[in-house]
């Protein structure tokens, strides 16, 4: 890792300008590090060429774990480990087990998916994010371009490109 990181940051006021701006910047062969927005912008993932999130798969697998866990736990406890006669009912029958199986499916699926989301998005309470522009949570869309990745371009070229793509401001930003 380098000690100094340099970026060029474009500020966009409006999501429509942003989407066309992303297209222009990417068409001219520039790699965008990330775009930070105060709210989810529809169509931005296609514009940036992101693949669909695989979190639904994680949610399904966690849910499946909950289903199996609930089923096996109840059959084992009620049917094998300590069978009890309750109103002459079967020791292990499926219908009364369904509510708990359902609840465990939902619980594990929700917790597992949100946990996965936190981990893959690197979200930690003690982490201070690298803020390219403080207004990105307020009302501006902020496009960050890493200079090291786009080594062929100078800062001024990139700034001009951002302005041409509709950015209201183009700034430089460095981190230690």
């Amino acid at each position: 890792m380098e000690s100094d990181k340099h970026f060029v940051v474009g500020i966009f006021d409006n999501e429509d300008v942003l989407l066309s701006g992303i297209k222009k910047v990417r068409d001219s062969g520039i790699k965008i590090l990330e775009v930070y927005s105060p709210f989810p912008v529809h169509g931005i993932e296609e514009a940036l060429g992101y693949k669909r999130s695989r979190l639904p798969i994680a949610a399904f697998l966690f849910g499946l774990t909950g289903t199996s866990l609930g089923l096996l736990m109840q059959i084992w406890m009620m049917g094998y480990d300590w069978p009890m006669i309750i109103g002459g009912k079967n020791f292990a029958s499926l219908p009364p087990f369904i509510p708990v199986i359902f609840e465990l499916t939902v619980l594990l699926s929700a917790l597992g998916m949100v946990g996965t989301f936190m981990i893959v998005s690197d979200m930690k309470p003690y982490k201070w994010p690298r803020q390219f522009d403080i207004r990105s949570t307020d009302d501006k869309h902020v496009m960050a371009i890493d200079l090291d990745v786009n080594a062929g371009k100078s800062k001024d070229e990139l700034k001009r490109l951002l302005k041409d793509s509709g950015a209201s401001e183009a700034n430089e930003k460095s981190f230690d």
């Binding site: 105060p38 912008v41 529809h42 736990m73 509510p99 939902v106 949100v114 309470p125 307020d138």
Partner: protein
């Protein structure tokens, strides 16, 4: 990109820009508490302290201090439990089911409604825990843990145990859903604190926001998480009150043993939940000047849901009466005859008036769009829903199979005290929430402002 209709009224009025949203909602988190807020908080704390005294006496002496007797072994405790769980249904219904139905008007009210849900479920859970007598043991008696006092497992055939799983899952998933929604908004307050130079607030809200940055990739994952949580919560909401109703429906007590209970309870839960959301939202809107975000349009839509669910509840009451007669079962017939004309007829007719007649007033547009009428009726509805549970529980129990056991139920000050205790918890938590957390989902409201105001 977003198709908007010129005929529809905008969801947010007052020509707000995205920057205004951050400012209007964050303002009350940043400012000093107002006099009104301090007064409200003081009242809630008095309720909480008085209730805590009653709970302490209950724990010290045991549940004999309640007014229960041999015939009526369940009364205010379970009435209040079911009442609070029912109220807790609106929040997740608004944020999950209305998200799946793409009802964008939910965005201004879902945060407050979900907070209300979480606090209501906490209040509800306190009743069965206190009823177990030993609160500190109650937490693990109900879990499937190997029992050190003789290796018995919990009984998975019992609806009371299903309730434990349903209510605790509902609580955890609602809490997670609510918190995930709060994360981007905490980041807004953090960044405003950085600009204002308030370092402590910036650090605290950064920790709360888990270092949120709002990158496009994170937003993409975030939306996928929100959608799946909504999909999971939708059957969950419906399952919780279904399972609560099974506490009664699987028994053999006349008046309880009916198959209509699950849908009837779920409709009643949504009915009372929306009423409580209206009560709280109307106050929040006034105190924090959110008239442009929570408009008359929102109030009207919620009132329409109250008409729909209130009518379902009304039909359920009449169906119960009809079936009690039509089934030809003497016990069932007597239970309902006794409800309508017995010593608790006053409770039955209060319930009928508050739940069946009063919501029908919302057919009149003038009443449905009047804030004062809505506020009054929302409280009337919740009084009615409390009586519904009281009627179902106490009138069915107080006439036992043997007439020599027939008796009445009279609450003691500890029954009342514990009910007050939960009001103390509920309002203290809600006022703390409304002061320190953003009461409207800023990120979602910003996304609708773009597509409604700029396109027209």
């Amino acid at each position: 990109m977003q198709a908007t209709s010129a005929l529809r009224e905008p969801l947010v009025t007052g020509g707000k820009t995205v920057k205004d949203v951050s400012h209007d909602i964050s303002r009350q988190v940043e400012g000093k508490p107002t006099k009104l807020w301090l007064m409200a908080m003081a009242v809630s704390l008095v309720l909480l302290l008085w209730g805590a005294y009653c709970c302490a006496m209950l724990l010290w002496h045991g549940i004999g201090v309640w007014g229960l007797n041999k015939t009526v072994g369940w009364a205010w405790d379970i009435t209040n439990f079911v009442w609070w769980v029912g109220i807790g249904h609106a929040g997740t219904l608004i944020s999950a089911i209305l998200l799946l139905f793409r009802q964008r008007w939910r965005m201004s009210i879902n945060r407050a409604a979900e907070a209300m849900t979480i606090f209501a479920v906490i209040c509800a859970a306190s009743f069965p825990l206190f009823h177990m007598g030993r609160l500190w043991l109650g937490f693990y008696w109900v879990l499937p843990l190997p029992n050190a006092f003789g290796s018995l497992w919990v009984n998975f055939n019992s609806p009371l145990l299903w309730d434990v799983f349903a209510v605790s899952t509902y609580f955890i998933v609602s809490l997670v859903f609510w918190y995930v929604g709060l994360i981007p908004d905490f980041a807004v307050i953090r960044d405003r604190a950085v600009v204002q130079g308030n370092n402590i607030r910036a650090q605290v809200y950064n920790a709360l926001s888990f270092g949120w940055q709002g990158g496009a990739k994170t937003w993409m994952r975030y939306e996928s998480v929100a959608l799946i949580l909504a999909g999971l919560s939708t059957p969950l909401v419906l399952s919780v009150h279904t399972i609560v109703s099974m506490d009664f429906a699987t028994s053999v007590v006349p008046g309880w043993h009916t198959t209509i209970f699950p849908p009837y309870f779920v409709a009643g839960a949504i009915f009372s939940g929306f009423a409580m959301v209206l009560t709280l939202v109307l106050v929040t809107r006034k105190v924090f000047h959110l008239e442009d975000y929570i408009t008359i349009g929102h109030v009207e839509l919620m009132n329409i849901i109250i008409i729909v669910t209130g009518s379902i509840v009304g039909i359920a009451y009449i169906t119960e009466l009809f079936i009690a007669w039509y089934s030809g079962v003497e016990y069932e017939g007597y239970a309902f005859y006794n409800r309508v004309s017995g010593p608790y007829a006053w409770a039955y007719w209060s319930m009928m008036t508050c739940n069946v007649i009063s919501p029908q007033l919302f057919w009149i547009k003038k009443i449905r769009t009047s804030l004062v009428a809505t506020f009054v009726l929302s409280i009337v509805v919740n009084i009615g829903m409390w009586f519904e549970r009281f009627v179902i529980i106490v009138t069915s129990l107080h006439r036992d199979y043997i007439p020599s056991s027939w008796t009445m139920f009279y609450p003691t000050m500890y029954d009342i005290g514990q009910y007050i205790f939960t009001f103390g918890i509920f309002f203290t938590a809600y006022f703390l929430f409304s002061k320190f957390f953003p009461v409207v989902n800023m990120a979602e409201v910003k996304s609708i402002i773009r597509s409604t105001s700029e396109k027209s």
